[in-house]
Symmetry: C2
Subunit: 423 residues, 2 copies
């Protein structure tokens, strides 16, 4: 099976670099990218070409941190800092997912919206509900979103009567969820201790063993907010830093994704680098709940793996175009407020973080590298003013800044075309 | 002539307060608001009612600082600090407006986009070109945008061969522009020295005299960026602060609008308060070109007049929904980085700044006060997920955060209906 997409092809093969091939051809065989070609190679002559004219053909996004069960509150409840925000808004919202019908309706819409916004890979938190988590995974798979989803584990400091589980419940539910999600092909389970304050030592140890035994990836939160960090310190006086509360239970390795890392200092960052942990920068949420701005430039300079997350609904933007712009803005705030005056993120850097860097967690090489599964979007900017000719790079910059509903015209995910604006 | 609009009416009658009247009636006679009523008063019985069901009926926006001539570069050129950005991007873009046909096409689109986004009052910079400025004013008036536009004066430190005028040219052009714009009804001229570094003392003195003789309002930039402030200090060693370079030429009074004021300290702010100058906070632009975050909370506490500006194209959002969210975000950054830990802006406060506070410059009382000209929009949020019932205030918060193309369904400006999504 051959897929040939023609258009202005732009990709991020390295941090800070954008390759552009106007009137180029992106070719995939059986869903696997063969390459980008300025002219169609002889061997494909006569094959059907999907011609998108001057539209941009881009890598699709990887959103490495978002809470599916907070989607219903998107764009509301922005007036509290993290811990109060959790109790006042996030927990009650997640509690609604005890109802499978509610979950089905909400998650179907979320899955569709992800695809329509060009996001085809995720690491996502569900809620603590096993059934709703399975429904989320089904709906994502059906829509064409690939990646990992986690049933949330939280057996302490939860919301009594609203959202809570015992250690035993949590363990049993986790095993049932792993069993029941076995047959899914594109969406796989990821162990998800909510964050250290939400999980007893017993539960953390259980999850660590499970991760090792079944070779499962792990996602959680790290060093987001000062009060949270202080709380972790009180809960684990034996650990000198937050990351150690994960590491000591075997939840800290190359398959671990840690959201935020706003306050991760040099030592914590070194621990991330050494273990191969991926830091997920969530710029919108970090500002909305007043956590801070993460030291992204330092992380990049030090060679850490860094990707981006929308972190809805602490974040208010599901579109990774917006999240990319927000990451650039956050880096400018960091530049203006950090005495070290770190360089801000350029658009090519932001774009790399939103696409290639996230895709790396799923084993892909950066850009439209041969051998990658085909993940791509077609982006039209016809409806924007066209006062003078722009380079492909300038068009990409504009697409990042100017959110355009409906501009994503087609989406391929894991080799398959999953969306086309024509229907 | 009677206008009766029915819907969920929300307005900002005071800083931090939102009044909501579900199933209410907003009534205007001959374009002048009579009031908001929970039930239709007897005297209007039988009059035709425009029924928008559950849609929100809101005040329209006032955008108190934007550059019409930078609209073509919206969303591009975000990689340089202010002064370099001016030379590399803004000046060459503005230079294109020497061509009246180009100006006509661009400004027509801009005017339409302002209305479609619910902005009905502006204080806007044009470029230095007289003809293009007149075209801009015509197109705004035709579309239904009201307010002030300024031909930009800039007789020094401009872009040689690209964008420059002599003092004499500038003065002559200004007089011609004032003469030619006489017959416009809704869009009036506003004197616009670009900023102190762009204007010789002679030109500033000329503009000050003109402002006094013809009772004209004035707009310019103030204390946006550290290098700019240092430059002003060198140019005017006699002035101890930036604002004095305007004040000494008679360009500093209750009809003056000053954009940015990022670095205005207590003394400069006191001078604004005393003179009744309006500070225009432009949060997007201040981050995009790395200027800083303005001390908005301090300004409000001190009783200054503060409104919001999109400042396109240093700002990347024309929609004031976005600008409101950006102002809230900027205030959270300020909270996180200012040792005084000022309170961030709430949504009701942000909404007030984007509507009532800006409208005050045009002589309106806050909210849908009786006696104000009718400026209003209808906002539909039907296309957003509706997982559980929201209060009118929560719906407004969500509208601020979740940009929704096409959600503005109808617009009234200066008493007249100027847009309806049905055509």
């Amino acid at each position: 099976m051959l897929t040939i997409i023609k258009g202005t092809i732009v990709s991020a093969p390295a941090l800070g670099r954008l390759d552009a091939t106007p009137n180029g051809y992106l070719v995939a065989e059986n869903g696997v990218i063969q390459g980008v070609f300025p002219t169609l190679p002889e061997r494909y002559a006569g094959a059907p070409v999907e011609d998108w004219g001057d539209d941009l053909v881009l890598q699709s996004f990887a959103d490495l941190h978002l809470h599916g069960a907070q989607y219903p509150m998107l764009g509301t409840g922005m007036d509290l800092p993290l811990l109060d925000w959790l109790n006042a808004y996030a927990f009650p919202t997640e509690a609604r997912f005890a109802d499978p019908d509610y979950a089905r309706a909400i998650y179907r819409r979320l899955a569709r919206e992800l695809i329509e916004n060009g996001t085809t890979r995720v690491c996502m938190f569900s809620s603590l509900h096993t059934d709703a988590t399975l429904i989320l995974m089904e709906e994502l798979e059906k829509a064409g979103v690939t990646g990992y989803v986690g049933k949330v584990n939280m057996d302490r400091n939860a919301a009594p009567g609203v959202l809570e589980e015992t250690t035993e419940d949590s363990e049993r539910a986790t095993l049932r969820w792993l069993e029941a999600s076995r047959d899914l092909r594109l969406v796989k389970p990821m162990l998800t201790p909510r964050f250290t304050p939400s999980c007893t030592d017993g539960l953390m140890a259980f999850l660590g063993r499970l991760a090792a035994e079944r070779d499962l990836p792990v996602q959680s939160h790290l060093s987001e907010n000062d009060r949270e960090i202080e709380w972790v310190r009180q809960l684990h006086p034996d650990c000198s830093q937050y990351w150690e509360t994960y590491a000591k239970f075997g939840l800290w390795n190359g398959r671990t994704v840690m959201a935020h890392c706003v306050w991760s200092d040099e030592r914590e960052r070194a621990a991330m680098k050494e273990a191969g942990v991926t830091a997920v920068h969530c710029p919108d949420s970090n500002v909305n709940v007043c956590s801070g701005t993460a030291p992204v430039r330092a992380m990049l300079d030090e060679g850490l793996k860094v990707a981006l997350g929308s972190d809805i609904a602490g974040g208010d933007h599901l579109s990774m175009f917006d999240v990319t712009a927000s990451a650039i803005r956050a880096s400018k705030v960091r530049r203006m407020t950090d005495p070290a005056r770190p360089a801000f993120l350029t658009v090519p850097e932001g774009w790399y973080l939103a696409t290639s860097a996230g895709a790396a967690f799923f084993g892909e090489a950066p850009g439209f590298a041969a051998g990658n599964p085909l993940h791509a979007i077609v982006l039209s900017d016809d409806e924007l003013p066209q006062p003078h000719p722009l380079t492909p790079q300038e068009r990409l910059e504009r697409a990042v800044y100017l959110r355009q509903k409906g501009a994503v015209r087609a989406v391929w995910s894991a080799g398959r075309k999953v969306f086309s604006a024509e229907g």
